[in-house]
C-alpha cells in the first residue's frame, strides 16, 4: 500500500502544479480561478496520502518525507517539461536535480542520532 499512497501523492502534487501553470497561462479570470481552486484542492487532498505514507513508515519519517518530496519534485519537473515543452539547458537540468538532492540531504541531516 505504501507504493500506492506514494504514487497517488506524487500524482496529486503534479496535477496541482499543472493546474497552476495552466491557469497562469490564461488571460481569462474564470479559467485562472478554476485552475487556482483545482490546484489547491489537489494539493490539499495530497496531504491525506502524505499522512498515510507517514503511517506506513512510523520509525523513519525523514525518509518518508524524502521519498514523497523527491518523487513529487522529480516527477513534477519531468511532467511539466513534457507538457509545457520546456527548453532548458543541461546545466539548468543539473541545477534542478541538485536542488532536489540538496533538499534530501538537508532532511537526512535533521535525523536525531
Amino acid at each position: 500500500m505504501l507504493m500506492v499512497h506514494l504514487a497517488v501523492y506524487w500524482a496529486m502534487q503534479i496535477l496541482g502544479n499543472v493546474a497552476f501553470k495552466l491557469g497562469s497561462s490564461s488571460d481569462k479570470s474564470r479559467k485562472w480561478l478554476a485552475a487556482f481552486i483545482a490546484g489547491n484542492l489537489s494539493m490539499a487532498g495530497s496531504i491525506y496520502f502524505l499522512m498515510k505514507i507517514y503511517e506506513s513508515m512510523p520509525d523513519n519519517c525523514n525518509l518518508a518525507f524524502i521519498l514523497a518530496g523527491s518523487g513529487a519534485g522529480i516527477g513534477g519537473q519531468l511532467v511539466l517539461a513534457r507538457i509545457f515543452k520546456s527548453r532548458l539547458s543541461r546545466v539548468q537540468w543539473c541545477g534542478i536535480f541538485l536542488c532536489i538532492l540538496g533538499a534530501a540531504v538537508v532532511i537526512m541531516g535533521g535525523q536525531q542520532v
Binding site: 497562469s24 489547491n40 519537473q77 517539461a81 539548468q92 541545477g95 541538485l98 536542488c99 532536489i100 541531516g109
Partner: protein
C-alpha cells in the same frame, strides 16, 4: 549568430519580488502548521492562518509561472521556501542546523544558481529569450505564446 549572457536580475525583474513573497508566505504557513501541531489550544486558529498564507502563496506562484519557465519557477520557489523554513525553524525553535544540513543547503544554493543561469541566443528571425529557459505557456508582455 550572437550569443550573450543575460543576468538573472535583468531578465526576471518583476519575478524577484514575487519569489520573495512566495518564500515568505510559504515559510510562515509552515510556521503556523508547526505551531498548530504543538500548541493544542490554538490549533484551529493556526490551521486557518496557515491555510490562508499557503493559498496566498499558491496565487503568487501562479504569477511566477506566468513570467518564467515553469520548471525553473518550481525549483527556485520550492528551494527558496524550503531553505528559508529551515532557517526560521532554527531561529524560532532554537534547533541548530547540523553540518550535513548546511551541506545540503549549500547544494541547493549551487543547484539554484545553475538552474537560474541562462544564456539567451539572438539569431536571425528568432526572438530574444526564446532560447533555453522558456516554455510554451510563458507570457511575453501579457500575450500568451
Amino acid at each position: 549568430m550572437h550569443v550573450r549572457s543575460s543576468g538573472f536580475l535583468t531578465r526576471y525583474g518583476l519575478v524577484i519580488p514575487l519569489l520573495l513573497a512566495n518564500w515568505i508566505l510559504v515559510t510562515f504557513a509552515n510556521l503556523c502548521f508547526k505551531e498548530g501541531g504543538t500548541e493544542a489550544g490554538h490549533r484551529l486558529l493556526y490551521l486557518i492562518i496557515g491555510s490562508i498564507l499557503g493559498i496566498s502563496g499558491s496565487a503568487v506562484l501562479m504569477g511566477i509561472y506566468s513570467r518564467m519557465n515553469v520548471n525553473l519557477a518550481l525549483v527556485i520557489s520550492g528551494s527558496g521556501s524550503f531553505i528559508l523554513t529551515q532557517f526560521v525553524f532554527w531561529k524560532v525553535y532554537d534547533t541548530p542546523l547540523t553540518p550535513l544540513q548546511w551541506a545540503g543547503i549549500s547544494i541547493v544554493f549551487i543547484g539554484t544558481g545553475m538552474a537560474a543561469f541562462r544564456s539567451s541566443v539572438e539569431s536571425k528571425g528568432g526572438a530574444i529569450g526564446s532560447g533555453p529557459g522558456t516554455d510554451s505557456g510563458e507570457k511575453k508582455d501579457g500575450v500568451p505564446c
